[in-house]
Symmetry: C2
DNA sequence: TTTATTTACGAAAACGTTTGAGTTGATTGC
DNA sequence: GCAATCAACTCAAACGTTTTCGTAAATAAA
């Protein structure tokens, strides 16, 4: 076993006090540059590593943030994490990952456990399984928290979202321009602001363009993929829409399968637009028109906002930043 | 500000010593069940949370593991993380994520920083940018480490990989069965065992089937995506292979684009097989035949091995577990 | 010169746990 | 009936930092 080397070791070696060593390592103004240099040199030479637990315990700074998301194996979220990790690393912060799998119970367990001072701040994209969220009210009072993409508007915290309403509004308008008259909607995240906004954009666009909204043209997301498949198939069989807007990627792909099975050809018989961060969207058969959220950017910005909060000593009004998604037109909506 | 509640608070409230509280919370045999119950009840009532820093500092257990990977925004790795997080959560462990972006310098910085006792163990899939890896030799002596998918065979640590050699061997054989005579290879991870094994499987299958290997049929991965595109295009223009095996997903997709551009039709003119964890592989145009690694399983198993190591007090010989990938045949290799 | 002020450092008390070595009173063995 | 065992606690010393306060010497102001 190696004897672990601490500031005590350094102090003894240099014949100075441990407080001097500590201050030197923290680049305190109280210490002369000569002493600092000696400490730094020795620290490097002995490969000294500050013990994080001891440091945290005393200073209440963990240099760690938590990211709570539904799934990591999801293009949007993994890209967001990418952005988050990037800015965290630049600041020397560590990133903890928690997956809720859209389960509020788990979400509560996570947030509760983070109240113990394990992290300095939290980035969260909330679970969609219900809208019971009083646990966040207490959370945000205790610890700096930034909500991204999936937010609760009535929670007093910083938020960052995309222009969900405009996205579906524009997508719907675009489909109508292409001559579509019967546009179905695959509805997910209906407990969340994002989901509601997307639905509203769709509905408002319909009515602005003199088209009628019908419940029959809406398929609600189900946790069970087979149920989704079945429901989409029923939609296609009985309603035969000429276009469909999917509020999440996971509902667009079954659409492709259903069309395959029913020999509905895209885009001739059915045009498809979906929210998606798939990098293979251009390679699908046919290539998929997507509303693509700036996932990486959102991650970066969310982290940036969090660090801005952590930097301030005094609380400031919470930001609510909105980034723009882009409608990327591809073959699944090609007009003939 | 809330006054934080500690075991001291509990002790005072219950009129017992703080050590009794601590032991009760840790379910020690030294404490009577009645006392334990009282402590637990009060703790729950007051929403007591054990301070992790203090606990770690004293006990040298962090209940945290680190995952070091090249990229999180990658189907294989994000699924692996999913598996890791799943088993970590079951054990009440926390998961730190570090991305190396295939940069050894960063990798070294991360592993060095983890020597400070921030984590109990490490799961790592190494960076591919070079094979300089002496830093791991010291790392694995200091802290339990499990290498997954991308491993160094000469490092004395637990490892988990897939049957890379057999995968390409079988894929190559399959292509030959389909009548292919000029099979190109898109070569990546050439610094790593996985990459070398995949290449060997391809070459050995070729020679076993009386086909000649040629350097001209090999394209080496480049960090620059445009270079890859260009090289693949050159390959197609000048060599006109009738099949291609891609050792990573990121080289297969440019293949599709090149074929589009050059009007090479898949699978008639060119058959394609690629290592891939794309969930949209069946929806590509045409659907892609993949060698799919059990990413989720690998994550789970890697974590399981790590916890097995952490559970043992005495070191045991390191496991090297190998899981099987599956060749999923789709249209990109359809025989007419 | 005397008195402030500054500079560079040290002593010691936290931070909230865990843990090994006592301590006490009750129970057991013989 | 007395030593030995045991169950259920308590004491106090860690763990490795950070940070407040104090102080000596050097410098500046008066």
């Amino acid at each position: 076993m190696k004897e672990t080397i601490t500031i005590k070791t350094l102090a003894k070696e240099l014949n100075i006090s441990i407080s001097t060593v500590s201050k030197a390592l923290n680049d305190s103004y109280e210490i002369s540059i000569e002493t600092k240099q000696k400490v730094w040199d020795l620290a490097k030479m002995l490969k000294y590593n500050r013990n994080p637990s001891a440091s945290n315990l005393r200073s209440h700074k963990t240099k760690t943030i938590a990211v709570i998301i539904p799934e990591v194996a999801n293009n949007f979220f993994s890209q967001a994490i990418n952005g988050i990790e990037e800015v965290a690393r630049k600041r020397g912060y560590h990133v903890l990952i928690y997956q809720t799998h859209e389960n509020t119970e788990l979400e509560i367990a996570f947030t509760d456990s983070l109240l113990s001072g394990r992290v300095d701040g939290i980035l969260i994209s909330v679970s969609s399984d219900n809208n019971n969220h009083e646990h966040f009210a207490t959370l945000v009072k205790e610890i700096p928290t930034v909500f991204f993409d999936r937010v609760y508007e009535d929670i007093d915290a910083a938020k960052i979202t995309t222009d969900d309403y405009e996205s579906t509004y524009n997508a719907t308008s675009y489909l109508v321009e292409c001559g579509c008259k019967k546009i179905a909607y695959l509805y997910a995240l209906n407990n969340l602001n994002a989901g509601k906004q997307r639905m509203s954009g769709y509905r408002d666009a319909l009515s602005a363009l003199q088209l009628e909204y019908s419940d029959k043209l809406t398929v609600n997301y189900d946790k069970n993929a087979e149920v989704n498949y079945h429901n989409i198939k029923q939609l296609m069989l009985h309603e035969r829409p000429d276009a469909v807007i999917s509020s999440i990627e996971d509902l667009a792909l079954p659409c492709y399968y259903v069309c395959n099975e029913l020999a509905i050809s895209i885009p001739e018989d059915l045009k498809i637009i979906s929210f998606s961060n798939l990098n293979t969207a251009p390679l699908l058969n046919p290539s998929l028109t997507t509303i693509t959220q700036p996932a990486l950017e959102m991650g970066r910005e969310a982290a940036a906002i969090l660090f801005r909060i952590l930097d301030k000593k005094h609380p400031e009004p919470n930001e609510w930043l909105t980034l723009k998604s882009t409608l990327i037109k591809r073959d699944s909506t090609a007009c003939r």
